[in-house]
Assembly symmetry: D3
Homo-oligomer: 233 residues x 6
């Protein structure tokens, strides 16, 4: 399986679904991170270079491939150009599952990235939204067990030292507490929580041959899909 | 994986998640159906015996084990006794995943079975709700691809001849149309749609040894979960 | 058109949809009121008889037929017996449209009557929910213009003197204020507001002969509803 | 009645409410279609001219007047200029009822057209939202019976050959399946489904003279809207 | 201010709003706890007596008055008798604010107590719902800062040793984690989270004399509340 | 307490929360109004100057400080520049509580101001949304008693003569009616209604010393937040 995680700025992905990505990597899935801006306007005083290096280190630690979107921090809009940037990566990695910001978020970049991703992934059967510190309404129903990966998630976040130490929005202990909170909601230990736009489950391991299932044509007329009353003459 | 599908009356389960159960069976999962009443008050004029035989035939066709709940049609209430009936089957089959009616339904038995199941499955990480013809609000976000199993689902439903031919609520062609409708929503062919109470994904095939992930103890103090300010002396 | 309004106690219907019923009567529709209990436990100190007489006077003033459900005040439960009471009146008047309490209400009788009505009206294409003073969440999207009927609504409510003068829940001026509030939401003068379970619109005055619309059979194969890929052999 | 249907691109309106428009036309209502862009960026490789001709043919087949909004495909934004375009048509046709995209949609043009229409129609008592293949959350409660018009809807859609044959988002059989799915939800045959922003019902055929209803001034003081306690001296 | 917290079983209140109650007590408010059942069916094997003693100790530790409802564990129903039990305590303590279970809960007692409380408190301007481990949907928007009271909350919970040690639903570390999680949502340290049915804010410290505000009677006619067009002759 | 009310145009704030601001002023709170545009495009035909003078008079009447945002009427967008305008006033007045438009509104400026305020106030524990005549979905749960301030609110609105007399969206009598409607919902007389993004309650009058609460360290190991199973070596 090919998994694509999309975030607006360096460290958004780690905060939102770092544990799930580690679980995917551990399960043998291909993991790609698309970071749309360099986070130049973050609390590091324009040290865009520093944040890029930090992001590269975190991706390496997580066993993920890193792709930069080349957009401008705090200036992302959900127009057709942004949609195209996401589409290109979706196609390049042949993504089966996308993780992205929840749509209702107080940061304009997060809203724009969520919207553009929903546009780009309009034909994809699996789109899950993660929570950011600035997310507003969030009603998760899908969870990933990250009990074995909380340490790894924290380590990946710790790569973003310039951000974590200076931003009032990232609170390290709250990251661990939320994982435990969602774990209790999911009836497991530690979890990351996701709000699905749509999630097609994969039940595939073994498969009977289709010939074993009865044929529609053998069934009573009542089951016909286009009854005469529709006027299909 | 052990899958338990729960319904109030004969044919409820087939209508709501028959295709998904066929997909589970095809994937090698153990499938159990718990039918809480015999449907004695259905449109067959009290032919409870007929409906039981029909249900047994349908379960056999789907490769599922059938369990009867022994409750009375149209008299199910979500009290501790009903919770216990569901709990016993949950434990007997060591269920990993439960399918049950959506909670907002105009039939009192459906509401009661959904409530009692949520009580019985309070510690289970995977509970999905299916749609019945009498379901009211329903916002599915989780889907199962049943393109290969629509024929089988219709065949299972056709076992319930006494009900299908006489009830104004079961419309055979609408069953197929809804599967196509949800399939379009899920960006696949034919689908069954589910509203999750909670759904922990299984990402497990391969697993790295936990030793590879960094230890929390090696991280900066900022990540400590119980800061001094909490007053933990 | 035959309209059936259903309420738990005397005066519930007038409060919730009295203006709409007057508008229906003015438009020539048949209007029936089903009052499920006699309101014996209301603030009139067991004067059940008084409340029944008041209800009969109000129904007469509104040009509506009155049916009593015969249930016990404060003891209504949404079981199959209550469903049957509502079903009988639905069938007797051949209702096209039902008005009933909103489902989320702090009074147990209101909740029970809403539930039982949804069960009884499970095959009816038009079910609208009105707001009571004890209604909790309420998100109306369908409105009826009652600008010409606010006076009539207030007059009908004034018939229920024993209740209005003694209950802390019925505030006469708030009734008029809410009609103006909902009128502003509906972009008209005064309105009653309804939350639809389902509302099929009637667009019928004139009708072309069906022969004028193209036949499905003349369309390209892509439009066929059951593609070969479904396995319908 | 004057009905205005608004869509972002050629074929959006037919997909979303083509059956309802045919029902309106059959009932003698005036029907206008406002298509805001020419769909130049669609899957026909810039054949904007082709799509315009197709749209004109479909409108003619549906007995509807066609108005072009003159905006640019994939570049629609919900600003005051777009609001003005919609306002002008609303006023020109003196619309009583508007059909438009649902607000939560993964296509930026669809979101923008829904937003701009809600702004332009801010004083209109009837605004209904239709579902597009790219619509995300959608909770319809208002329905139109299109059993007699499914053939006509499909014929109108078939006019858009360049789009239907080349776009992965338009699936012909899913159009018919969804009409049947919503029909089952509405307890009728085939239906189109709508999410109302607000819908004032028309109950008008016959009307009593207002003089027949009691006058507010004749009622007890308790019903006065501005009690002395408000401080209205 | 008089605060009433209502729970189904011993320890429900401490889990849901123990920190807020400690904050109320610290602020000088009167705090009462109404525990409706003795928790006889809990995991302590019928040691109802033990649970009662534990509850009394916890209430004492929190500076709260304790009232027992006398209902039967696992058998609570939201009927008029249960409503009356809650009404009596509401009146006895002249409650200004009520804390109670959230309505959507998988435990039948929790649902019943929430429903009965909403009925009993139908005229009360302040009703807040707390989260239990078995709560299902929960969308809190009102928070209380419990940073200074997490230690006290844990101490109160530790009084319920028989329950905490034996129930799989109460996970001590998750209690603290959730407080931190909700604190991050509330933009403070540690918080308890509440879903309001209604919450009238108290802005009262100082108050101007009403004579200082302009009189309605001095305003233009346009502001009159009952326009002539309403027919109030 | 410092209260900041934010609106897009002159009179938006008075309509949405004028009564609450008067209540805050009466309680001794500092009240500031930030009006982001001059309302140049309003129904007064470009008399921006007139509207500014009206707004100044209304602010004076309400005892509030007035700040102008300097943006262009009908052209507000929720970008980083608008966020900065709001941030500056938030910091200048050290706001404890913000009132702003509800996010779901048919006017593009209202949506933009709500979004930008949520961005600017991302670290603020108290953000309440008020209803405008153009607000769409609105589910208020927090209320302020304005029974003593309805006269003052109407007087403040009457300052905006150029707008009130010429705009079809502002209906004077509906303002009073809505206050009574929400008052009935809040179980008080007249109220303004608010939808909270988050609202931390203030319970502070008296406060025990933190030393009185038990220490976490004295509690059983089960309460430790980072169990060994997390792998914190």
């Amino acid at each position: 399986m090919s998994v694509l995680a999309i975030g607006s700025h360096p460290d958004d992905i780690e905060l939102g679904c770092g544990g799930a990505l580690l679980a995917h990597a551990a399960a043998g899935d291909r993991v790609t991170m698309l970071v749309l801006t360099g986070g130049e306007n973050g609390p590091d005083g324009g040290r865009g270079h520093v944040r890029r290096v930090e992001q590269e280190r975190a991706a390496a630690l997580m066993g993920a491939e890193l792709v930069w979107g080349g957009l401008q921090d705090c200036q992302v809009v959900p127009d057709s150009a942004t949609v195209r940037v996401v589409e290109q990566t979706l196609q390049a990695v042949q993504a089966d599952l996308v993780y992205v910001h929840a749509p209702d978020d107080s940061h304009q970049d997060h809203r724009a990235v969520a919207s553009a991703t929903l546009g780009a992934a309009r034909r994809l059967p699996r789109v899950l939204h993660y929570q950011s510190p600035s997310t507003l309404s969030f009603n998760p129903t899908v969870f990933v067990d990250v009990t074995a990966h909380v340490g790894g998630k924290v380590a990946a976040l710790a790569c973003h030292a310039s951000q974590v130490e200076m931003s009032a929005m990232v609170e390290p202990d709250a990251v661990v507490a939320s994982a435990r909170h969602w774990g209790a909601q999911a009836r497991i230990g530690y979890a990351e929580a996701f709000q699905p736009t749509r999630m097609v489950l994969d039940l595939s391991p073994v498969r009977r041959t289709p010939a074993e299932t009865p044929a529609l044509a053998d069934l009573p007329a009542a089951w016909a899909l286009v009854p005469a009353s529709l006027g299909a003459r």
